[in-house]
């Protein structure tokens, strides 16, 4: 779906724990999430810490939406893959 949205020129960022799949399909703005079953969460840390982590992800996603990209890219919280 992200590919279809992107093909029409609309800014979307796909957060996924399996960025290979999205990237293979051609999605250009991909952000790697935590895990498949807990994409923006983490049971190893406290709920407060988890929400802070989730906030980091969202801010990163928003940052990506404001980036001009020349070609597709898989992003992580810290950088790129």
């Amino acid at each position: 779906m992200a590919a279809a949205i992107e093909r029409q020129g609309f800014p979307v960022v796909n957060i996924t724990a399996v960025p290979t799949v999205s990237s293979m399909i051609g999605v250009t703005r991909v952000l790697r999430g935590e895990s498949v079953a807990n994409l923006l969460g983490n049971i190893a840390i406290s709920p407060v810490q988890e929400k802070l982590l989730r906030r980091k992800y969202v801010l990163r996603a928003l940052e990506i939406l404001r980036m001009d990209l020349k070609e597709k890219q898989v992003f992580t919280l810290e950088g790129t893959e």
């Binding site: 949205i5 969202v58 928003l62």
Partner: protein, 363 residues
């Protein structure tokens, strides 16, 4: 040689079963003796080799809206006839009909252990869903070629009936490769003896490719196009409205829109204020997605759609607005074409409502 006539049962939808059109799409199963509609053409093709002894018919919606129960019901109706062979459709492009044909053929193959053959156009959702479980002949889009298609379905059926089955119609004829016999690859890799080793075949294929000669791949990989990155959101974040979309199958308890855990075809819209309030309860959600362990998301749906954070960011003025509607679907085993369509449909909504950018979470 006087082999007994094979007993054949045929499935048709409400339209081909001569009950009606969309107004009859909710009709329950009926069983009619002998061949009906296109079944008459099928009977002609079968000739002396087979007899269509019954035709089962139901509505496309009746089947599509509760596929498992309907397939089980179909088996109950088919089994007493003790058929040797089963045909469904063909469904051509019709999605609900294709899903019904595929599902019934799958059930017949598994429960009754007889060949079950149908026919569909390659984009029919029934193909991706059932190609591994049923023999689906490739058809065009148009139903005009139905007689020809039935002929191809019958030809495939003869090949499926092995000599060991007691009917020596075609002795020892191995079922050919999908391309040869005109059916969709079932994704089954069969070992074959070949005079050449894999190494030799690989080198030959590479040489052919380099020299511009034709070659045939032994394993077909899906083909994808490249996309030009959409322009970034132009405005400052503080002026942007951001929407959430997810294919993780997050729905209200009860799954009111019937989003399927696999092979889903629909998306739904939920108002975030009522759907995921700050004081949400895990008991109010379901995950209509059989492709991942749902517990973490059920405990806290914000882990799939970060509504809590986006609400904070809106309050703080980091973004102008969290779009009030959440676009939900299930992306498990959805055929590429329908996925594309859903993306396009959702985008239309986003554009209509003046959304600036979207976050799409996938599991």
């Amino acid at each position: 040689m006087n082999s007994p006539k094979l007993k054949v049962v045929h499935y048709l939808n409400q339209f081909f079963g001569q009950e009606g059109q969309e107004e009859k799409a909710d009709m329950k199963f009926v069983v009619k003796p002998g061949p009906v509609g296109p079944g008459l053409a099928l009977q002609k093709i079968l000739g002396e080799k087979g007899q269509v002894i019954a035709t089962i018919v139901c509505g496309d919606n009746y089947f599509a809206e509760h596929m498992d129960e309907a397939a089980a019901e179909a088996i109950k109706l088919i089994a007493p006839y003790e058929p040797d062979l089963f045909f469904a459709g063909p469904a051509f492009e019709a999605g609900r009909y294709g899903m019904a044909c595929g599902a019934i053929c799958k059930a017949v193959g598994e429960k009754l252990d007889i060949p079950a053959v149908t026919g569909m156009f390659e984009e029919n959702p029934g193909v991706d869903l059932f190609r591994r479980h049923a023999y689906i002949c490739k058809t065009g889009r148009s139903t005009l070629k139905i007689a020809q298609t039935l002929g191809e379905m019958a030809a495939l059926a003869w090949k499926l009936l092995s000599p060991e089955g007691g009917t020596k119609i075609v002795a020892g004829e191995m079922i050919g490769r999908p391309a040869e016999d005109g059916y969709f690859s079932r994704g089954i890799m069969k070992n074959e003896y070949t005079p050449q080793t894999a190494a030799a075949r690989g080198v030959e294929m590479l040489l052919a490719k380099m020299q511009g000669r034709t070659f045939e791949t032994e394993v077909e990989l899906p083909k994808f196009q490249s996309i030009t990155p959409p322009p970034a959101m132009r405005q400052e974040l503080g002026a942007c409205e951001i929407a959430l979309i997810s294919d993780g199958g997050l729905v209200p308890k009860g799954n009111p829109h019937g989003i399927r855990g696999r092979g889903n075809l629909v998306w739904a819209v939920y108002d975030l204020e009522s759907f995921l309030p700050e004081n949400y309860s895990p008991a109010n959600y379901e995950i209509a997605h059989t492709g991942y362990y749902p517990a973490r998301v059920l405990e806290n749906p914000n882990r799939l759609i970060p509504v809590d954070v986006l609400r904070d960011l809106e309050r703080e003025g980091v973004i102008a607005k969290l779009h009030p509607l959440f676009y939900s679907t299930s992306g498990n085993g959805v055929m590429q074409k329908r996925c594309e369509e859903m993306g396009g449909e959702i985008l239309q909504e986003l554009k209509k409502r003046g959304v600036d950018g979207a976050i799409l979470t996938s599991t």
